[in-house]
């Protein structure tokens, strides 16, 4: 039985820097236990916390840095890219942002516990909790660690060693019944509970409301990380909601299954978090989004436990109560157990990429692929800026031959085919299934692409595209060391508006930055990351050099706010999968109408009349 999720560290085998040969099949490769990190007397959660950054993304030992020669490299032992030189990054970084390696903005290295507010405790609650034997902590580090997600303003404040309101204590339930007990006690003593899964929120959902006067308890689900059973006849698995994505996938893989749910945050985000925010995975074209994947949900609320009585695949029993739970963002209760669909692991996987002469053609191609309903497991279209970014992340090539080959490719595309290097864009593809079908499918997609002027551009480019997703969060930390701040945000939009929204939002960002005194042109770029029958999901990346600004975070927030207004004005949704949290809740009413708002409120009022789940997200 596994109980410490982080005992195992993983490497994506599809990582482009992987040196050895791999057999297609398993996605995740387990490596040995981390040396010297045996659980001491402390509970396992402390372990997780110890190997992760307290003021940045991911593992403490894994980070980008510019070495003495000014070349970028990646540190740590977890990902295999250690020691690899990325020669293009420095130039790209300096050119894109006008940044300089001379101007550093290092983070506060150590967490200063004395700067953290002393906890406001509800003594009666603490006393009764002790008697249940559920582990808890009032340690400052534990509390700070669970007081934030990964919004820019949250990380920026942490790097400066500033803490706002943080939870007053942390509890670690070990199972569903522990959660029932905690919620009962919280209701009894009027304590505010904030569920905490992987902590990867980017909607200010984990921020403690500053106006909250009650004791705030962070309910960390990380110890509820077991797969309780697997039902091979129905292809379902019953899983505790605290399990993080990579563990779930790896454990299922061991028995030849997978869920196929791969959000970009899957190294750290948890099943319960996915359910609570209506998450979406990169391979949703085959496996579906979280709402398609769940069969049964168990959630503990102040009114008791909510769940369905059976596991029928579809029901006509009034509005689906799962849809009150999914997207409730921790305002109604804690998701404790989920029955999920599982699939046999794919036999074969293949990456691919297509270069288009311009973004317009690329979007037209994706639209056609969606029309013919032949989208691969994943299909993503990056704009020109992002293509260049991906290019900058190319590792040093080892042989003259490869670099010669690269030169030849470039010549073919820009000179022979006449693509403008400042306009062309690239789509990355991931095919999955049995070998024959994958190859057939691949041909179909490339044929469509060809009609839109697309040229197949090889597997490597595809892989590097997907890598970008996983390293971009680490790259943000690198940028923050050199006056560059940024973030991403997403939306979903009907097909006919995709081009318009991309153009307008990017232009709005540039314009707002200029108007707000940003001294350097910002990076304002986008990609289409998901296709649907009726529209697409669009992701925007936005970063700028903040030298010369007195309050960069405020400027950042104003620009992001303006960008969201622009999204809404162009027919985009408030969120495709990040959720609303507190960051976007000002737009909820216009998004769902007054009546819709009333509906949601009345559910909240019934389920949690005393606002025990008081994170104040969503409504």
């Amino acid at each position: 039985m596994l109980y410490i999720s982080t005992k195992y560290q993983i490497i994506r085998k599809d990582f482009p820097f992987y040196l050895g040969k791999t057999a297609h099949g398993g996605l995740w490769v387990q490596i040995k236990n981390l040396p010297g990190h045996l659980p001491k007397e402390s509970p396992s959660h402390v372990f997780l916390q110890e190997i992760m950054k307290w003021n940045g993304w991911g593992y403490s030992d894994s980070r980008f840095l510019f070495n003495k020669k000014g070349q970028a490299e990646f540190t740590g032992k977890r990902y295999i890219i250690i020691g690899m030189i990325i020669p293009g990054l420095k130039d790209w970084f300096e050119c894109t942002f006008g940044a300089s390696l001379q101007h550093k903005t290092p983070a506060t290295p150590l967490l200063n516990s004395s700067a953290v507010q002393p906890p406001t405790l509800n003594e009666a609650f603490v006393e009764e909790l002790k008697s249940t034997g559920i582990p808890f902590s009032q340690d400052a580090e534990d509390r700070v660690f669970r007081a934030h997600g990964h919004c820019l303003h949250e990380i920026f404040a942490l790097r400066e060693g500033k803490f706002g309101r943080v939870p007053d204590m942390v509890v670690w339930p070990n199972c569903h019944n522990d959660v029932v007990k905690i919620v009962e006690l919280a209701s009894k003593h009027n304590v505010c509970l904030i569920p905490y899964g992987g902590g990867t929120s980017v909607s200010s959902a984990l921020e403690c409301p500053p106006e909250e006067t009650r004791s705030i308890v962070s309910l960390d689900t990380s110890q509820m990380n077991r797969i309780l059973w697997v039902d091979e006849k129905n292809l379902t698995a019953h899983v505790e909601a605290g399990i993080v994505g990579q563990d779930l996938e790896r454990l299922l893989n061991e028995s030849g299954y997978c869920t196929g749910h791969e959000p970009d945050s899957m190294e750290f985000s948890s099943l319960g978090g996915w359910v609570a925010t209506r998450a979406s995975g990169m391979k949703k074209n085959i496996y579906g989004n979280i709402e398609d994947l769940v069969v049964h949900i168990k959630m503990v609320t102040p009114q008791g436990v909510i769940e369905k009585s059976c596991q029928g695949p579809r029901m006509s029993t009034g509005p689906d109560i799962h849809h009150f739970i999914m997207g409730s963002e921790g305002t109604l209760g804690v998701v404790t157990e989920v029955t999920m669909k599982i699939r046999p692991m794919p036999e074969y996987q293949k990456y691919g990429s297509v270069v288009f002469p311009n973004f317009e053609q690329g979007v037209a191609c994706l639209r056609e692929v969606a029309r013919q309903r032949c989208a691969p497991a994943s299909i993503r279209l990056m704009d020109n800026e992002q293509f260049k970014f991906g290019h900058a992340l190319k590792p040093q090539v080892s042989s003259i031959f490869t670099s010669f080959l690269d030169g030849l490719k470039k010549f073919y595309i820009t000179k022979f085919k006449g693509f403008d290097p400042n306009r062309l864009c690239v789509a990355t593809l991931l095919f999955e299934g049995d070998r024959e079908k994958v190859l057939q499918h691949e041909k179909q997609v490339y044929d469509i692409a060809a009609k839109f002027g697309g040229l197949a551009a090889g597997e490597d480019n595809g892989q590097r595209g997907y890598m970008l997703t996983f390293v971009i969060a680490y790259l943000r930390d690198l940028g923050m060391d050199y006056y560059v701040i940024g973030e991403s945000f997403e939306t979903s939009v009907p097909w006919d508006r995709v081009l318009d929204i991309c153009r307008n939002v990017k232009a709005r960002i540039v314009r707002e930055c200029k108007e707000r005194g940003v001294q350097f042109p910002p990076l304002s770029t986008c990609r289409v990351t998901q296709t649907y029958d009726a529209g697409a999901c669009v992701y925007f990346y936005f970063a700028f050099n903040y030298r010369g600004l007195s309050d960069p975070v405020h400027v950042y927030e104003q620009v992001e706010h303006a960008a969201r207004e622009e999204i809404l004005a162009n027919g985009g949704s408030l969120s495709h999968h990040h959720g609303v949290g507190k960051l976007r809740k000002e737009w909820m009413r216009e998004t769902v109408s007054n009546v819709g708002m009333g509906m949601l409120k009345s559910v909240k009022d019934y389920v949690d009349p005393n606002n025990i789940f008081g994170n104040r997200n969503l409504l």
């Binding site: 006919d496 508006r497 318009d500 929204i501 153009r503 307008n504 709005r508 004005a569 027919g571 216009e590």
Partner: protein, 669 residues
Amino acid sequence: MASKAVYSQRDPMLKKRDDFEDILEERRNSSDLRYALRCYAPVVYKGLCPSKAGTLKSMVLQSDQLHYVIHQVCRETGRAVDDVQEEASSILEEMAHRLQLSTVRFFAFTLSKVFKTLFRSICVNEEGIQRLQQVIQEHPVVLLPSHRSYMDFLLMSYLLYTYDLALPVIAAGMDFMGMKFVGEMLRMSGAFFIRRSFGGDKLYWAVFSEYVKTMLKNGFAPVEFFLEGTRSRTSKSLTPKLGLLNIVMDPFFKGEVFDVSLVPVSISYERILEESLYARELLGVPKPKESTSGLIKARKVLSEDYGSIHVYFGQPVSVRSLAEGRVNRCQFNLIPRHIPKKPSEDIHSFVNDSAYRLVRAQEENMVLKPWVLLASLLLQNQVSGQKRGIALDELTEQAVWLRDLSRQYGAFLHWPEHTPPSEVVSSSLSLHRGLVRISEGRVQLALGQSYAVTPEEELLSQAVIILSCASYRNQALHVFLRPALLASAIHTASSNKKQEVFNSFSFLRNMFSNEFILCPGTYCMLFTSHWCCVSTGALQVTQQEVLVTERGHRTLVFLTSMLDPFLQGYQVVCRFLCEEATEALTEKQFIPAVRKFIIKHLLAGRLRYTEVLSSDLQKNSLAALLRLGAVRKIKGYQGTLKVNTVMVNSLEDTLGGKLPTQKAVIARL
């Protein structure tokens, strides 16, 4: 090229305006042919999709918008799709421009010759050109020139060619197309033709709007049209038409472009080519007998001196900034964007307000010549009954006084700084010698030299001169209008109480909103004009009252006289409607009937202002009365007018100051 400052910034109230440069200067010193054949490579919109004129047409014909409407028309009329498609295609054929560089070069050559003979100079603000060049690259551009002459759009294209800027496509009225050869020439220089009215014709509207939008969105060329819809015969700005403005703003509302830049352009002529033509048109008098042929006429035009032209390219206005906080673009989220939809209430009022603002911008950047002030003074003098005119030095003194006053009110006056005022006055008078007569050191309007047979004919020939003069005075109207409304309000109000004056002001403002460009719903204007008059010392505003100061008397007299012809004109129209209107009076008969009535009164000496003969004023007053509900149009083919005699009567009395502006009336308005 020498650029001279026309404006010294002495008064802090004055706006900063750009300097001008004369483009004819270079034309006089270098070869026109080389100029016409020079390399022309304008900067283009950064998002331009390179396409040929032919692909433009097919883009329009294949657009979702047009497809939708074609199928709608088919469903409604039962016609075959091919048939309707054919019609759409021929509409487009009739409409589309065929911009050709060779034609443009031809015009560049000939117009250079023509301009050099007609005008002393054509002055352009270079900074405006630079701003335009910037903005053309950033966003789709819409050029919005004022419209005082047929010359306007040729002049615009000529200027853009001169400055190596993208040539515009210009919305022109179909009437041009009547002139077979000229029409085609204009078409090849970038004009596209639209029918004057196409009321319910869905298909026409769809082709038209899609054509304009396609050109705009793709950055094919700047789109140019006249907000006022037609040439102003009176030199007053006309109430803006909203159709085309709506069309060019639509791509922004629907997110199809990031922004659209609107560039108001003010073209002011020192002497308008169509001067007397307009006056005759307004009077309903046929054109003077063209005894020999049009050719000789044209030569006569060519031999005359028309002074200079000033063209001011205003600050580009971003539709996005205008719409900020006013238009909720989400309203287009729930219906596919290609389905035509009537503009919502908020869009309509936004477009309307924007149109007014743009026309105001045109007005404010309109260069005024000293003659405009002289015309105002001479008209006032003429009415005050001094048959012998005014002494030249007195006129000069008054002109200098008015120059300073107008500058205080922010007029963009082009008064030569280093020339003695007497010279300025006499050179202005000599340029307009057709309208004024100087004898024995006295100046008066050139009336009464005609060989008319009947008194009516004589009256009309005098009216031609007076209306021509009035059109110059009207150029300055926008400067004085707001203070003048206040002055007249003080004049007509029964007491000096602030509230009374305000009531009276609001009444006049409302009454005249078809006559002048008064931005809708901006009542704070009252305070602005307060400020104007107070700061010039003409008024003293206490807690309760508004008082005219000793010094301000002259200003107030001038201001009230400025508005007086309009007040009287509206009263006369009211009286006509009360006294003479029969049951069967139709809208069509209105103008001739009211004209007859006015002539009668003028000849009998019961009316002071000959200029109330202007059909423009008559039309505007009827429109105002219709708007206020004092006159109603009976639904029917003829458009019979039904007069509410009580209300018209009370409006007339209120205008005349006989009746206090009752609260009731205001509430109704």
